[in-house]
């Protein structure tokens, strides 16, 4: 489970910018939670605080019961993370990469686990080819397998379909559905409304660092009297601007 409570992050560049402003939400096991917002809304900053890459200035985050500030190692062990880039080691093969991350994650039998993932994601045919020579789709498969190498109960994905072609993106969306069906808690950020509509059990609309709305798609429709998520999103942003927030 992911529990985020009044999370705040400020940057100094050197002027103070509040990138994330009192953000709170929860994501339960077997649920897909979408963080929806335009570029610069604070999605990536929020996710980076969740995975301990950034330290919150205020508020708290608990992943599978572990506080990211006081117990970051255990919190990280509970998370599989997919960043905006696949971030694979180009000179390693997928097999070597999965074994390596298995060891980093403290998996008991990393070699066996790697073989199981190679089979599950149909990577066998290119398992011994350097990652730098793989296609985008192949890389994405390896990246997903890496995120699952330690069988984490939580998956956090930062704009996972960014830059992918339609077919590869579909594979990834199918993987998210599969992860939900396996009982994992999935949090992903996106600015693509159709993805959120298709996948999310709950959606939080993030704008200028603040959550404007949080609920199921039906709840958001009821609140705005709009059917399409794109319209719903615009309504919340307009209302926020009208309120001067």
């Amino acid at each position: 489970m992911i529990e985020v409570d009044r999370l705040v992050k400020r940057f100094y560049t050197p002027q103070e910018v509040v990138a994330v402003d009192r953000v709170s939400f929860r994501c339960e096991p077997g649920q897909v939670f979408g963080l929806l917002g335009p570029n610069g809304a604070g999605k990536t900053t929020t996710l980076r605080m969740l995975v301990t890459l950034l330290t919150p200035d205020e508020g708290s985050v608990r992943l599978a019961g572990h506080d990211v500030t006081t117990d970051p190692a255990r919190a990280r062990a509970a998370v599989g993370y997919l960043a905006t880039t696949t971030g694979l080691y180009g000179r390693l093969t997928p097999r070597e990469l999965l074994r390596y991350f298995g060891r980093l994650q403290g998996v008991e039998a990393p070699d066996e686990r790697a073989e199981a993932l190679l089979e599950r994601f149909d990577i066998g045919s290119f398992a011994d080819r350097p990652c730098e020579r793989l296609s985008t789709g192949m890389k994405q498969k390896v990246s997903i397998a890496r995120a699952l190498v330690h069988e984490p109960p939580i998956l956090i994905l930062d704009e996972p379909t960014n830059g992918l072609d339609v077919l590869v993106a579909q594979t990834l969306l199918a993987f998210i559905e599969e992860a939900r069906d396996e009982g994992r808690c999935v949090l992903f950020s996106t600015h693509i409304m159709s993805e959120a509509e298709r996948l999310c059990d709950r959606i939080a609309i993030l704008h200028a660092g603040r959550i404007l709305a949080n609920g199921t798609l039906e709840e958001l429709r009821e609140q705005t009297s709009e059917h399409y998520l794109e319209r719903i999103f615009v309504r919340f942003v307009e209302q926020s601007q009208a309120d001067g927030r």
Binding site: Y12, P14, E16, L54, R74, L82
Partner: protein, 398 residues
């Protein structure tokens, strides 16, 4: 510990598959640098051969008895004047004249031409020998002892063991060279393992792994140390072989007859080399950590190479000694330990102090590197620390 080994193994695997690392870290120190030394010996032999094949060409003017000395074979007499020497058509002009019973010899040569300098050396040697012979002859003719007319006689005797002479010569050059090779060899892999993660976009997913950042930084450092140690030992072995082969050719006698290293010197040398590699690798990893690109890291590392190079060269100064004033000067002290070990003088106390200090500095560099790796700035440069932001706003920044 298993995470450290996993990171080390992965980094070594990546390095071995990277052409640049192989070239700059392994191929250059192990093959290219020793090849240069081998080339120098070959050039020296070639020059010696050329000197033998090219007899000195001398323009002579003066009494015939001096001519017998000056123009004795293999010197070749040629016609001309000083202009011929300037033009390289002759190697020296010798003008001898008898003034009040003594012979005054004037030699004109061109110091910018090696052949001319060699000719002057040959002529000076001959004339000195002839003068000594003439002086002794005059003394005998005057009914005196043979060396009675010499103001003094001088005989030099080198009591240093013959087999220590080369080791002493190398002790003035090799330590500083070794420190520089280690530093240059550490530069590329350190930059690659640290900044490569950022440039290739792998750092985020790696830092999110459960392994502690201490394990990630230490694993990278161990990989750099391992590869540089291999490069350095390979370099020393190849350089040693080249020097041995070259000197054997030049001197015409077995290398072992003029070069001996004690077991103690070898042991101290190996420990000191390992510590040297640990220190320079730690420094290189540390300077690469804050950089956000290869270019920036290379700039920082080049500055570090410059500083280490100066300290290394200081250990080669003729009067430098390992004592209280130098034992705690980083890098220089390692060079001095190597120098004194080569020279057959090992001061156990100072050596221990140097090794301890270097270990402490390496630990400090690792600790500082870990602090950087744990900071947000390591990943997301462009932000500034909060306190700096406050100061900037006080100064009117918006």
């Amino acid at each position: 510990m298993s995470a450290v080994l996993a990171v080390t193994a992965k980094e070594l695997r990546e390095m071995i598959r990277d052409g640049n690392t192989l070239l700059y870290t392994l191929l250059f120190p192990v093959v290219f640098y020793p090849f240069i030394i081998w080339g120098v010996f070959q050039l020296a032999l070639l020059e010696e051969g050329l000197a033998e094949a090219q007899p000195p060409r001398v323009v002579y003017e003066g009494p015939p008895d001096v001519a017998d000395v000056v123009l004795a074979p293999p010197v070749e007499a040629v016609q001309g004047d000083e202009l011929a020497v300037r033009r390289g058509q002759a190697d020296a002009v010798v003008v001898a004249a008898t003034v009040g019973g003594a012979v005054h010899v004037d030699i004109a040569h061109q110091s910018t031409l090696a052949r001319s300098v060699r000719t002057v050396d040959t002529l000076s040697e001959r004339l000195d020998a002839s003068r000594g012979e003439r002086t002794r002859q005059l003394a005998v003719e005057a009914g005196l002892e043979e060396d009675a007319l010499d103001a003094w006689t001088l005989e030099e005797e080198d009591v240093a063991p013959k087999e220590r002479a080369l080791a002493h010569g190398l002790s003035l050059v090799l330590p500083a060279m070794t420190l520089m090779v280690a530093t240059i060899a550490a530069m590329y892999p350190a930059v690659d393992v640290v900044v490569g993660e950022k440039e290739r976009g792998t750092v985020e997913t790696t830092l999110v792994a459960a392994a502690p950042r201490m394990a990630l930084v230490t694993g990278k450092l161990v990989a750099v140390v391992a590869v540089v140690l291999v490069a350095l030992l390979g370099n020393l072995l190849a350089t040693g072989l080249c020097i041995a082969q070259g000197l054997t050719m030049v001197r015409g006698e077995a290398f072992g007859s003029f070069f001996v290293l004690t077991q103690g010197a070898v042991a101290v040398g190996l420990v000191t080399l390992t510590m040297t590699v640990l220190l320079v690798a730690s420094v290189m990893v540390l300077v690469a950590l804050p950089a956000k690109s290869f270019k920036e890291a290379q700039n920082l590392a080049t500055a570090a190479v410059f500083v280490i190079g100066l300290l290394a060269m200081a250990s080669s100064l003729p009067l430098s000694r390992l004592d209280a004033s130098t034992a705690f000067v980083p890098v220089m002290n390692l060079g001095l330990v190597l120098r004194e070990a080569l020279d057959g003088r090992i001061h156990a106390g100072w050596t221990a102090a140097v090794l301890l200090e270097s270990a402490a500095l390496s630990g400090a560099a690792l600790w500082a590197g870990l602090r950087i790796a744990q900071s947000e700035a390591y990943l997301f440069r462009g932000q500034v620390p909060r306190w700096l932001g406050w100061i900037a706003r006080l100064g009117g920044a918006t």
